[in-house]
Amino acid sequence: MAEGRGRRSMWRCRMRGAHGERIGWAAAGLALCSAIAAASPAAALSVFTLPLVAPSAITPMGGSAEPLSGSLVVAIGTLPAVANTTLQLTDVSVVASDGTTFALDPSVPSAGLGVLHPDGSFLFPTLFLQVDDGSGPQDLAIPNVTGLASFSGGGTALVGLDASFDVDSPSGTLAVRVVAAPEPATLFLVAAGLAALRGGRRERGR
């Protein structure tokens, strides 16, 4: 699968130019938003890295939430999603507060392949994970994982994923909530970039 490598590091962008020189906020934002805008051609693949944020957690029935941390890497087929398109988790690095880890099943290349609908809802028909509590990885396939993706930049920039599902265990039902969103600093970068882009367009409009 071809990957938009230039956009892969979008959320990790540094305040430096191609040759390492320091550049201004507006220029950085402009570059960022240019990258976002470039994501729009059909068949292009947009890749986003989103950290898990609160209230991501596993919550036992009648108990208190065990926070989940880590990050997701998400590749989306075509943005803005005016029709159904692919939404693929290409990396899952999630840790529960007791140290249990969750990752994509490495034996299945399409382990995190799903579909994104134009309204932002998404579905993983089966999400193939591996869970490891320290005793070694075990398969954990979760059918029918649904949730909602949110976008900015006219639907070209993924700014959040939210999925929740219940899980039954011998000790009762566990409510799992996974919320992934850019960190505040990154959000600020996006906002700045979008503002710069709008400013630039106004300038060109004159």
């Binding site: 579909v115 028909p125 398969d139």
Partner: protein, 602 residues
């Protein structure tokens, strides 16, 4: 530990997702949530078949058939082994057809792993072809009943002897239980209210099978495809595949026009979302011997006539499948219940006569007897081979490849005791090198050389692997859908098979002569455009990409939707029986991509 931590600690042990039952690990601990169910449903109503109710056409069931199935059997039935996860709703159903002489149970190890891998969002329906319902399994079932209450080794042995004596009675010189007398055959109640020993059908008991050709089989399976579609809906996947000869059946299913009207096409491939070919190259072009319509019709008439040609395969390499089948059930039971005792089957008429007496020259344990029969190092026939381990506790005679047996094999010679079996995961399995393959004891794992180019003539290559558990092989011998097809149809199906995947010439003759498309409507192969997944084994019958090339070249599926994988070291049956089957992630990935593609829509 806090309650929360207790809950999280339990997480990897057993979870169930809200949307249908799921679990952790997938399939439940040890696959415990994976269930199996034998489903028998109305099949295609073939008019000549007993039970069709078509006056003047329906053929009567013979007394022998009635003894097995009752006075008024309806043989127009389709049976499959459904493997599923309890409480789950599938998005995909994979329908699989077994290979040559194979029963539906042969798919069990693969099916269980696939269902567990998907945690229930995929089911596997393994077909048992029609003739399987004619197997007289009373002896095996009776032995299993006795085994349930047997508590001492003597009772276990007696239970096994009762089953063996039902199928393979003692005679002069055959003292299976070594008690010095010829014991009488086991008699059991039959479906006519009488008692009898094994009812082995004769060719003339099955003359109705002259009408059990591809058309009947495919229409049976169309009912399953339609039933599967009703389960998964238009957004789900119905996939059709097979193993070995079953890949031929899968390819002709796709190529079939189910609508009898010459002006209307109801193509098989349009009812499915993909084709899976496991260790078999699918169908080929018509052979030069494919007959014209009059010859076809006269051949069918002759197959239907008492005393006519064989409708089922009476013998293969000197072995009667209708004797091998029940023998395999009893060997499986003996291997499970008296694994390290002297082989019971070796003391029956089946093994005391050629060809078994030539291949089994050493006394073995019950367990080892099945190992020697099926292992890729000892079984002469490539189509019957799995990699289940080795035996090196005695001399092994190396037999070179020959026109009869194109691949070399070993014959175990006696040691001073019973030959034992080393399992697939035994760390002491011999390899070549340092052993030499043609010097006793030889080796379980041989390097067959580098991978040839994909377009080379199919040939085995790579380092062999030992991947299949003998315990799994034993367990599937004696289930209802068992391992062997006792009455493998070879009359009408061979006639139909001569057309490969294209009977257009026959259809044209039929339309010209009668206005109907006739008895065999393989006209759609060139239009088949669904995705195809092909998986071969480098130590099997489809060891290279070229093994699948002729079929793939004959259909309209775009190259991007043709996927071929070769698993290094797998023998023919490893593809469906391996313990941690490398085919599982390949199938899982392919199915997942098809699922999402379908959800995305055109």
């Amino acid at each position: 530990m806090t309650p929360n931590r207790l809950a999280l600690a339990a997480l990897p042990v057993c979870l169930a997702a809200a949307m249908g039952v799921a679990s952790c690990p997938s399939g439940g601990p040890g696959g415990s949530l994976v269930a199996q169910q034998v489903v028998t449903a109305p099949g295609y109503v073939e008019p000549h078949t007993p039970g069709s109710g078509v006056a003047g056409v329906e053929m009567a069931a013979s007394p022998a058939v009635q003894a097995i199935l009752g006075r008024a059997p309806n043989l127009n039935r389709v049976t499959y082994l459904r493997t599923y996860l309890t409480g789950a709703t599938p998005r995909a159903i994979l329908i699989l057809v077994p290979g040559f002489l194979g029963g539906g149970e042969t798919f069990s190890p693969l099916a269980r792993q696939l269902v567990a891998k998907f945690n229930g969002s995929l089911e596997v329906w393994a077909i048992d072809r029609r003739p399987n319902q004619l197997e007289d399994r009373r002896g095996s079932v009776y032995a299993q009943q006795l085994l349930q209450s047997a508590t001492t080794p003597e009772q276990v042995a007696d239970a096994l002897y009762q089953g063996v004596f039902f199928y393979l009675p003692e005679s002069d010189g055959v003292d299976t239980n070594q008690n010095g007398v010829v014991d009488p055959p086991t008699l059991l109640p039959d479906a006519l209210g009488s008692t009898s020993s094994y009812v082995q059908l004769a060719q003339d008991d099955m003359r109705f099978a002259a009408y059990w050709g591809l058309d009947t089989y495919l229409r049976d399976w169309r009912t399953l495809v339609d039933a599967a579609r009703a389960v998964v809906g238009s957004q789900g996947l119905v996939l059709f595949g097979g193993h070995s000869m079953g890949t031929y059946y899968a390819s002709v299913y796709a190529a079939y026009d189910f609508d009898p009207d010459p002006n209307v096409v109801d193509a098989g491939y349009r009812s499915i979302d993909g084709i899976v070919l496991l260790e078999g190259g699918g169908g080929g072009a018509p052979s030069a011997s494919a007959p014209d319509l009059p010859t076809y019709q006269s051949t069918v008439a002759s197959l239907a006539t008492p005393g006519g040609p064989q409708v089922y395969l009476e013998s293969f390499q000197g072995i009667e499948p209708a004797v091998l089948g029940p023998g395999a059930e009893m060997a499986g039971l003996a291997g499970v219940h008296l694994p390290l005792e002297s082989s019971i089957l070796q003391r029956t008429s089946l093994f005391l006569n050629p060809p078994f007496s030539l291949l089994f020259q050493s006394p073995t344990t019950n367990r080892a007897a099945v190992g020697f029969f099926i292992d890729d190092d000892f079984q002469p026939v490539t189509a019957f081979r799995a990699s289940v381990g080795f035996s090196d506790d005695g001399p092994n005679l190396y037999v070179k490849a020959s026109p009869t047996f194109p691949a070399p094999f070993y014959v175990a010679s006696p040691n001073s005791d019973l030959r034992q079996w080393k399992d697939f995961d035994d760390p002491t399995l011999p390899t070549c090198p340092p052993n030499t393959f043609n010097v006793s004891p030889g080796c379980a794992i041989r390097d067959d050389g580098p991978r040839p180019p994909p377009s080379a003539t199919p040939q085995n290559w790579g380092v062999q692997r030992e991947v299949t558990s003998l315990d799994d092989v034993l367990a599937i011998q004696f289930q209802q859908m068992n391992f062997i097809e006792w009455y493998y149809l070879s009359g009408r199906t061979s006639l139909d098979g001569s057309y490969g995947v294209d009977s257009s010439a026959l259809v044209a003759q039929s339309v010209a002569a009668t206005g109907s498309e006739g008895p065999l409507v393989l006209t759609q192969n060139a239009h088949v455009d669904v995705p195809v997944l092909c998986i071969g084994g480098s130590n099997g019958l489809a060891p290279l990409e070229s093994s699948f090339a002729p079929y793939l070249a004959s259909i309209a599926t775009p190259p991007a939707d043709e996927e071929v994988h070769i698993i290094e070291g797998y023998a023919h049956l490893d593809m469906i029986a391996a313990k941690k089957n490398d085919a599982v992630p390949l199938i899982t990935d392919w199915v997942t991509r098809l699922m999402v593609r379908k959800l995305i829509g055109p």
